[in-house]
Subunit: 384 residues, 2 copies
């Protein structure tokens, strides 16, 4: 089994007994309210999905990441994982304080943090490092610029039960997924990150991955998405229908994870890879404009960033793909790498056009979307 | 560029000027007649396709290969490459003799050998080591058992011009193919070994390889085949038609090479891999029953044999595939690794049935064979 990133899988969760005690103690602590992204990150840290992180980044880790994609211990890390507080909140916190972290949406105390340090940060510097742009039309930049002005670093202890926070039967943390991979005897596993329903073009990527690896982990994000993205429960209905009819069960694993997308393109592709290594995957599918949004990144930036890493930076390997489509002349799925024919021969529907067609009850070509998936999407768009 | 097997690409050919002089000298030497397989091996050795071999194996290399798949210098080698002589011929040869080697089919002196040693060998031991069987119904075993009783070891000098011996525009030696790969800037190249026309199932394998590698080398054998196999010129017409209509030229290279098949299954798969590494490939497609014949090998023997090698034994990596087919329910090409449907949904035609259909002028489903290829095969079978 592939090692966790930085070697050992972190576990900052607690057993039901510990939870009761710690919750009691947490009720006596000062409380900070979290954003939805910070709540997601609690679960990512707590379950080890962000191994080797044990908490929110202190100043040294943060500077290392922003300036050189590297934690202070030398481990590759592409994107800050931070907890933001206001100046007023910061004035009431000092190192070694224990603070309870609350999800304001549920009112639940989801974690405690042992403060290591507090620091002001440079939003423009972080935006450029992470997103490569200062444009607030970028959803990641917008969120960052609206964020509180100080960061609190420190190791966390996860109190909330993440499996209850994401009530999908497909929800599983890294330790569980690693166990499932081991039980299936897969030596090589390709992860497929997605925040969208799987149309045939992406099905094709996963099928190629299955040809060259022992199994595939279909691994959608179920953290909060940007406006216009399709909700997790609708997507899950699509994934289930697709897998049931078109994937061999013994070589496919559908699991979801709680991260919130940053839309940071290449830097996020690295983060997705690190997370998948922690989930026990040896490969990750990186298509065109992976984790991108708008036109901020070149189509292959998220693939090329892997080329500058050294062997020891990251054990998981990218499987890089180009445009994929049904080609009428090929009479099958193909890609710009394998098909010599012209665009007129390719079945292509833009996202906008697809939504319109679905909302208007129009039939989607089977070469583009499996009918079982189109039916679920149509029902969703019709009720919007 | 990937290193040649054993590090340096061997070159035992000569320039046109050298050829003239050496031919003159060779005319004064005693002469041995070669089998067609030995002639092929001359070209494989001479051009470096068999690097690091510089000649026919001496006793130490031969014993190492038969007993432990290893040359005396420690380099992996799976199958003897030998020159057989009768006892009578052996009696007239001694170490350090220079002997001219003649292709009796053309009467041409194709090489000279500087004899290092002469040795009797154990045909049953070699048959078991190479083919895993003593059954003379196996074409490789049959050829071995009919072979002369002694082997002559020694380095060779290739006199004949191999590019003229195989008058196909697609013929090219390893140095030339390496140069073509370098010019195209391919960092990863998958080789596809074949002795058959390419039907859609094999096209699919090459297309998957193209998705994960920068380019593909379609690399058919044009050495003598067993009875019933389709001649090289007919196959080449099929390859050309297929590539022209269904492959992107900038990612595909069709080249042929002069080896004669051994039908040695797993051991030959390793030999095919070594040869492709010498041709500059980083990957080789290994399907079910690669280089097999009859039912002598398990369907995955030729894949599993790679698992027992250490990293340094072989740099080229296998791309392993299972049955592939058009699946009506998937609505596309698929394999036992990717398709959950049953055999009734798969378009499958046995080799025997295909030949009958073609010979009777019946239409072959496009899901099985491209019409451009079927047409050429039909014309061939109709005139048989």
């Amino acid at each position: 089994m592939i090692e966790a990133h930085g070697k050992n899988l972190v576990n900052r969760t607690c057993t039901p007994q510990e939870r009761e005690e710690r919750l009691k103690a947490a009720c006596q602590m000062p409380v900070l309210d979290l954003t939805s992204s910070e709540v997601s990150d609690i679960y990512m840290i707590g379950t080890g999905a962000y191994s080797p992180l044990k908490g929110f980044m202190d100043s040294a880790d943060y500077q290392g990441v922003v300036e050189g994609m590297c934690l202070k211990n030398g481990v590759l890390w592409p994107i800050p994982v931070t907890l933001a507080v206001t100046e007023e909140e910061a004035n009431n916190i000092k190192p070694e304080d224990e603070i309870a972290l609350r999800d304001p949406a549920s009112g639940e105390l989801v974690a405690t943090i042992t403060v290591s340090d507090l620091y002001r940060y440079d939003k423009e510097k972080e935006a450029l490092a992470t997103f490569g742009t200062l444009d607030t039309a970028h959803p990641g930049v917008k969120k960052l610029f609206e964020q509180k002005a100080f960061y609190v670093g420190g190791e966390i202890c996860q109190l909330a039960d993440d499996t209850k926070a994401f009530p999908f039967p497909e929800y599983a943390g890294p330790a569980k997924v690693r166990q499932e991979i081991a039980e299936r005897g897969w030596k090589t596993v390709a992860a497929f990150q997605t925040r969208n329903p799987i149309h045939r073009s992406h099905e094709y990527l996963t099928k190629i991955a299955m040809e060259v690896c022992d199994g595939v982990l279909i691994h959608p994000v179920v953290g909060k998405l940007k406006e216009g993205d399709i909700p997790a429960d609708v997507r899950l209905a699509c994934y289930r229908a697709l897998l049931q009819d078109y994937y061999p069960a013994e070589r496919t694993l559908l699991r979801v994870y709680p991260m919130e997308m940053r839309y940071a393109g290449p830097k996020e592709a690295l983060l997705h890879a690190i997370v998948r290594q922690n989930f026990g995957c040896t490969h990750i599918i990186i298509g065109r404009d992976h984790a991108g949004v708008g036109k901020y990144y070149g189509p292959f930036d998220a693939q090329n960033i892997f080329d500058n890493l050294s062997e020891s930076d990251l054990l998981i390997k990218p499987l890089k793909f180009d445009w994929t489509f049904w080609c009428k002349r090929c009479g099958g799925m193909a890609s710009t790498k394998t098909c010599p024919h012209s665009a007129e021969d390719h079945v292509a529907i833009s996202g906008t056009k697809l939504r319109t067609m679905l909302a208007e009850g129009k039939r989607i070509p089977e070469e583009f979307t499996r009918p079982e998936v189109a039916e679920i999407l149509a029902a969703y768009y019709l009720q919007l």
